[in-house]
Each structure stands twice: as C-alpha cells, then as structure tokens.
C-alpha cells in the first residue's frame, strides 16, 4: 500500500471541497493538502446547479431578510446562530468568487446582477446565466491550480476514514485507474462528498451522488442529522428527473394543470400574479410547490401523459424566445434535445423529483463533527442552515461560506495536533484494504447490484416521497433491512484491477443502503409534518412541543439505526406559522408591527 503524508485530507472535489482546499492553502502554504475525488473535480455534481447562489446584494435587501427567509423556509429547524453567520459571509464569498473570475451575469452598468428565487423576499440570487454551479465549480477548480500545496488525487475513491486515539487521522483511497490502495495520513479530515439523493428513483442528481461520505462518518459513530428531510424539486423532467431550474419561475414561468389553470393559487400562494412576485405563486418554496402537485394529482387535475406519467406544465411561452435564450439557455437546449420541444412554443411537462438532502453529517457551526479532527461541509453535512427545507440558492453559497470555515478550522487543527501513530494507522488501513478487496474477490454470490439498487430506490420513493405514512414507511424500513441482508450475497462480474467500476458501484451501494436506512428511520420517527417531511396519517400538523428537534441517526452495526432527538438553536426568530403569498405578507407586517 502506498502512503501519502498530508496535513489535511479533503474527500470530495466539488464546490465545498475545492473551496476548503483553497482556504487551507491560503491559511498556510506550508500545509500539504490532499484533495481526493472519485471524479475529476470539475465533474462533481456542483456542476449541474443552474439557478444561482444567494447573498444580499441590493440596497433594499438586508441580512435580516435573508435570515428570516432562511429560517422560516426551513420551518424553524435551523441553527439560527449559524444562519446569522452564513448570511453575513455570503456576499463576501460571492464577491471573492467574482475576483477569481466567475462570470456572474451582469447589469448593463457592469455590476453583478441578481435574480428572484423561491421563498426569497428580495432578489438576491447571484447567477451565471443558468449555469451557475458550472461556473462556480470551474472557477474554483481552475483557481485551485494556482496553489502548489494542493495535491490532487483525481479519480481516487475513498473507502474509509481512519480513526486512532479518538481522532480522525486519515483516509484510505483506491486509485480507480489501477485498483491500488493508498493511505493518506492527515491530522485533519474534511468530508465534502455531496448529497445522497441517488437512493431515490427519480432524481435530479448525477450518478456520483451516492452519499459516500455520510456513510463513512456514520459508520464511525458520527450522527446523521435531519435525514428525513429530502427536498423534492417541483419542476423536473419526467422519467430522467433532470432539472428545470427554479430560475424558470424566477424569470416568470407559470405552472399550470390540465385545464391551463395556475393551480398554486389554491394552495395558499395566491392571489394570482402576472409578473413574478417574491414568495407568491410560482415563487413559493419548493416543498409547498411539490405538495401542491401531489394534491392536484389526487384531484385528477394533472395531465396524464402516455409515456411520461402524471405531469403539469411549466409554461415559459409568454417570455419569448430571445429572452429565454439569454436568461435560460441551458434550459432551452435541454428542452430541445431531451424532450424535442421548443419552450418558446410548447409548455414543458414537469413533475417533482428528488433534488437535495437537507440533512447530513452533524457538525457544529464551525463544521467540526463529533469525532475530533473530522469536518464536514457541503451537501453531505448538516451545519444547520437548511432546517426542514432548503431555500433554492442557499446551498451553493453554503459551499463557499462553510468550505472556507472548514478549511480554516482544519488548518488550525493540523498545526496544533500531535503527530499520529503511523504504524497503527497503517495496520488499520491494511485491514480496510482486506475488507474492501474481499467484496471483489468473493465468489458464489447471486444478487445483482443493479437489482438491489432498483428495489432500494423504488422503495424509498414509495415510503419517503412527498407525502408519507406510517405503513409505507415501515414497509420501506423492512425492505431496506432485507436488502442489507441480500447485499451480503452480491456477485461482482468484474474481478479485474484497472478501472473496476463494477466493484466501486457495489461499494457505493453499500453506502447508499446505510444512508437510506438513516433516512427512513428518521422519517418514521418524526410524528409531525414540517417542511419537506409531510405526513397524511394523523400527523398533518407541525408539532413544536415534541418535534422542534433535530433527528439524529446513529449507526448500529447489523441493525436499524438508533434515532435520537437533539435541540435546535433559536436566537431571534420564534417559530410561527409558515405562510406565503398574501397571508405571508400580512404575517410579515404583523411581525414588524410587534417589533416596533
């Protein structure tokens, strides 16, 4: 086994991982950074983000507003002190990215422009056409090349983290091109492996979004927090799940049912608006919009498409081709190539799809996990800003703000921590190698990976969809337990060393099953409805008495996870009714009045 000695190892080369790497490098150029990614960093799923990143920009906006939008949008399950820090840092980080070359879209006078996004009171989403994530990721990746202390391990797959002396001290990775193992020793370990949405069937996510890092931390005793909160994005391409960004609605798109009726006005988001109006109608939060779809379907008012299933229409026609090509070029192309339709002439069939995991590795406000030396950032983490429902465009900003925090903290830790016991670590790493190799070399299995995966994703969709019920959630929990058993009996076709994706997929599936269990068990345990977790079996209301709490899932080897409840940090925003549209405006005014 190869050994590489670093000061900080970062697992994940997406927006979060790259930002952290740069932060460490800027803190102290002498610190050696190992940046591990199972794909070339610019292929990370941050690349797919379309809409943009939130940060106060306009003079009419304020940190206060951004704070309240976020906390209210999260149905009060946010760590409010962390949100405060977040909103204040956001504009600085977005400006930093501009200095690094990010081609943010601009106004005529050359300043950065902002657009409207769902659940946001004032336009504050910085965007680069509808390829914001792409530009953020490439800017970060290219900027990272400037720092010689960042040693990249591209196309290296992390199979475990190393824990010794109660501290996290490294990671074990496989070089995909050779199948060989490397132990990376480091005093600080940052996990930035992204979300886990691929445990569901129809999702907006890339194939790599398999929750690896979550499972790694989880198996080392770190809690996965708020895993039941899985965001459905209301406007996805049927079957494939590909995303039509919220910016489609931010720019003025309508959602209509089979009668051409803008049904959102029936779901507390009205009254009807012609022009996009923040927090009204199509600019309501994602959970509400996805839920409205569910009820429209129940009422038989969705469009039944022969091959696509139940859909509603995203209507952009009134915006005109020129405007659409300028503001939503990617969307335009996607509609043309993938669906063979022209959004300037035809409405686009859409329906909700899994998009984002609000929960993740539990950390404090400085991104530190309960295991010393371990940090988590980005979608795989739960630093506490998304609560029960993330607002669109908060996540890309999160990558930057907390990527930097984690980098700085990890650097500090690396400088102060005592050197590890290399011999003991190597022994551990060798044990990991043996365990992982056994998965490949074992013979006689009869279960196909793809079959188990298919059953898992279907079952997650059935049990942990937009609306949930005890019975179906239980069925999902049972199914997952069964699949865990069957996984032991898998067979891997490919026994080779070079580029063995068959084997790596199996390791991913193993991770996914763990994460899926954490989600399903957290969900069944939450007997209320809040944000993205909505129940139809007698728990339709939010229950602040019993459940203004974080769920924390703890790994139990060979059994279902243990679910505990943790406190929520509330500073200045007391839980209130979560209302949008005209009712929301009224509530806003009342809150203001009571403050004066």
């Amino acid at each position: 086994m190869e050994i590489f000695k670093a000061d900080v190892v970062i697992v994940g080369g997406g927006g979060a991982g790259l930002r952290a790497a740069i932060a460490v490098a800027e803190c102290d150029p002498k610190l050696k950074i190992a940046l591990v990614s199972k794909v070339y960093p610019m292929r990370s799923h941050t690349v797919a983000a379309e809409g943009g990143a939130a940060g106060v920009k306009k003079p009419t906006d304020s940190f206060e507003y951004h704070f309240h939008d976020t906390v209210g949008g999260g149905d009060w399950l946010c760590e409010q002190d962390v949100v405060e820090y977040f909103v204040e840092q956001a504009p600085l980080e977005l400006t930093q990215l501009e200095h690094w070359g990010c081609p943010w879209s601009r106004t005529e006078d050359g300043h950065v422009n902002v657009r409207a996004f769902g659940g946001m009171k004032i336009e504050r989403t910085w965007f680069a056409a509808d390829k914001s994530g792409f530009h953020i990721l490439h800017t970060l990746f290219q900027t990272s090349i400037k720092y010689p202390s960042i040693k990249r391990f591209d196309e290296h797959f992390c199979v475990d983290i190393l824990e010794e002396d109660g501290r996290c001290q490294g990671a074990v990775v496989i070089e995909m091109g050779t199948g060989e193992f490397t132990m990376i020793e480091a005093k600080s370990v940052i996990i930035a492996t992204g979300g886990a949405g691929r445990v569901f069937r129809e999702s907006t996510l890339g194939g790599i979004v398999t929750g690896d890092g979550m499972a790694l931390a989880y198996r080392h005793g770190v809690a996965l927090r708020d895993m039941e909160f899985v965001q459905y994005h209301p406007t996805c391409m049927p079957v494939t799940g590909l995303l039509f960004t919220e910016a489609c609605r931010g720019e003025g798109g309508y959602l209509v049912n089979k009668d051409g009726y803008r049904y959102l006005q029936d779901y507390g988001l009205g009254p009807l608006q012609d022009k996009p109006k923040n927090k009204y109608m199509e600019l309501g939060p994602r959970d509400r919009l996805s839920q409205a779809f569910f009820f429209e379907q129940q009422k038989g008012r969705t469009i039944e498409h022969p091959t696509l299933g139940s859909v509603v229409h995203l209507d952009l026609r009134h915006l005109g081709e020129a405007y659409l090509r300028e503001r939503l070029p990617l969307i335009y192309e996607m509609a043309e190539t993938f669906m063979g339709l022209d959004p300037a002439k035809d409405p686009i069939p859409v329906r909700p799809g899994v998009h984002y995991t609000m929960g993740g590795i539990k950390t404090d406000g400085k991104c530190a996990a309960s295991l010393k030396g371990l940090y988590a950032i980005g979608e795989c983490s739960s630093v506490g800003i998304h609560g029960a429902n993330r607002l669109g465009s908060n996540s890309l900003t999160e990558l930057l703000v907390f990527g930097k925090v984690a980098g700085v903290e990890a650097a500090k830790n690396a400088k102060s921590a005592a050197p590890g016991n290399s011999a003991a670590l190597l022994k551990q790493a060798q044990a990991v190698e043996q365990r992982v190799m056994a998965l490949k070399t074992k013979t006689g299995g009869s279960e196909r990976i793809s079959v188990i995966r298919k059953e898992m994703t279907q079952s997650m969709e059935d049990g942990c969809g937009i609306y949930r019920m005890e019975k179906t959630m239980q069925a999902t929990c049972d199914k997952l337990a069964e699949l865990r058993e069957r996984f032991k009996n898998i067979s891997i076709d490919d026994k080779s060393s070079v580029w063995n994706t068959d084997w790596l997929t199996a390791i991913e599936l193993d991770y996914q099953l763990d994460v899926a269990q954490a989600m399903a068990h957290s969900a069944i345990n939450r007997k209320e409805s809040r944000g993205a977790h909505q129940r139809l079996d007698g728990y339709e209301q939010r229950d602040d008495v019993n459940f203004l709490k974080h769920s924390e899932a703890y790994y139990v080897a060979g059994a279902a996870p243990r679910i505990a409840l943790g406190d929520v940090k509330i500073t200045k925003s007391q839980p209130a009714a979560r209302v949008y549209g005209a009712a929301g405006e009224k509530a806003d005014q009342e809150r203001k009045a009571s403050h004066v």
């Binding site: 690349v47 797919a48 400006t95 070359g101 050359g110 290219q142 591209d154 068959d502």
Partner: protein
C-alpha cells in the same frame, strides 16, 4: 416492459488491459424506448448483461463532461445522443479517439489535465482589489469578449476530433487553448504575456492546421478552433514584434 419493445444492436469496442492484447468488438441487443440515450443503453448493458463494461458518466445532462464517446465514429456526449436516432441500424460505440484506452470506453485523460494546468487557468489580476471594494466592473462588451470561451465542460470531444492532436499528443490542443484565451480576454486578467510562452512554443498553436473539426463537434459551442487560430495571429505578432517592444515579447 411492453411487448412492443424495440430492440437495438449496440456494438461496443471493448478492451480489458488485463486479458486482451488489443480491443475487440462485441454486440449487445438492447431493448429501448424513444427517450433513451446512448448512455442509458450502455448502462442497460452494464446492469443486465455484463457488469464489467466500463465507462465514465455522471450528470446525464450534458454538463459534467464525462460521457464522451465515439458514436458511429463521431465524438459525442453519450448522454445527449439518443438511440432512436440510429434505430433500426446497429450503433457502434468506442472510446474517444486519439487518447490511449485504459479500459473499454475509458481513456487516459492525464495528459489533457496536465495541459489544462499548464495554461495558468486563473485570474492573474490586472489590478488588485479587496473584497470590501466589491466586484470588478465589467461592461457588456468586455463580458462578451470572453464569455463564450468559459462554456467549456472539458469533455475533450474536441481532442477526439482533432487529427493534429492524434498525430502529436504533445499539442496543447483546442480546449486548453480556449481556456487560455478565456483568461487572456477577461478584463480582470493581466496575465496574457505570461501565457504567451506556451502559445508560441513547439507544443503551441502552430500544431493546428485549421482542420476545424474540433469546433464542429463541441457540444457547448465554445469554438475552440477559433481560440487556437486567433492565438496563431497573436503568436505571430509576438514573434515578429518581440524585437520592437521594450520588453522583447516573451522569451
């Protein structure tokens, strides 16, 4: 699956470095529906017939740049190429041309990544600015100078298209030059001179004979061939004018 299922034949160029001397072709019969991409065809094979079939993919929406292949001999992103457009004929897929094959459809990209790193693909500020001073101001005209060259997804289809790269793997190539040009043209950047050494070098732009196929196959309309050719003009200027300018051009 319904009984009216259509079946398409997919011929794959397969290569396992541990057991094959050289690549060989294998044909699979894949049931497909009209919305299925070539990538999904490959996934179907991996899931149902042979788990050892190896290819890169992730986003499925033509933005991560991992799924390039030769499809009937033409470099394309397999996630945005549809089986229906080839049916009822057999479709052939093969690893991207001009790159060494690692295994099946996976090629060795390390050379490309080195090239990307060698062009100094980051802002070398023309004038420093603090965060408190806010963003740089960039007029629409300045913005339009470079924006097209930022759209490159590093899919390397242009390299699979460029015979000059095939003939000389050291050629810095279209996408890396497009990225270099992107930074040179950015009003925030002042590093053009530093990058000139590479442009004018033996690995630089003069390997290009204006074949132009790179721009033809680029899925993101980056027009990398244009970036290469514009820089021939820049390089020639640098070559002839270096004796005139006080700094003597780049050495």
């Amino acid at each position: 699956m319904s009984e009216s299922q259509k079946i398409i034949e997919i011929e794959v160029l397969r290569y396992n470095p541990e057991s094959d001397k050289e690549p060989h072709r294998e044909v699979y019969k894949v049931p497909f529906s009209d919305d299925m991409s070539v990538l999904q065809g490959a996934q179907y094979i991996k899931d149902n017939f042979d788990g050892s079939l190896t290819f890169r993919w992730s986003c499925r929406m033509a933005i991560c740049g991992s799924c390039g292949m030769m499809i009937n001999g033409i470099p394309k992103l397999s996630c945005e190429t549809f089986l229906r457009d080839y049916y009822p004929n057999r479709i052939s897929i093969e690893a991207m041309a001009h790159f060494p094959i690692e295994k099946d459809l996976v090629v060795d990209l390390s050379g490309f990544i080195e090239k990307l790193e060698s062009i100094q693909p980051y802002i070398i500020p023309r004038e420093a600015r603090t965060l408190e001073q806010g963003e740089y101001i960039q007029s629409p005209a300045q913005f339009n100078e470079y924006i097209q060259f930022t759209s490159c997804i590093n899919c390397t289809l242009c390299y699979a298209a460029c015979p000059q790269f095939g003939l000389n793997p050291d050629f810095i190539g279209p996408a890396a030059m497009a990225l270099l040009h992107r930074y040179n043209m950015d009003s925030r950047d002042g590093g053009a001179e530093q990058r000139m050494q590479l442009v004018t070098s033996e690995e630089g732009v003069f390997n290009c004979s204006a074949v132009g196929y790179c721009s033809e196959v680029c899925p993101k309309h980056v027009d990398p061939g244009n970036a290469v050719n514009i820089n021939k003009i820049n390089a020639a200027k640098d070559y002839f004018l270096r004796f005139l300018s006080p700094k003597g051009g780049s050495k």
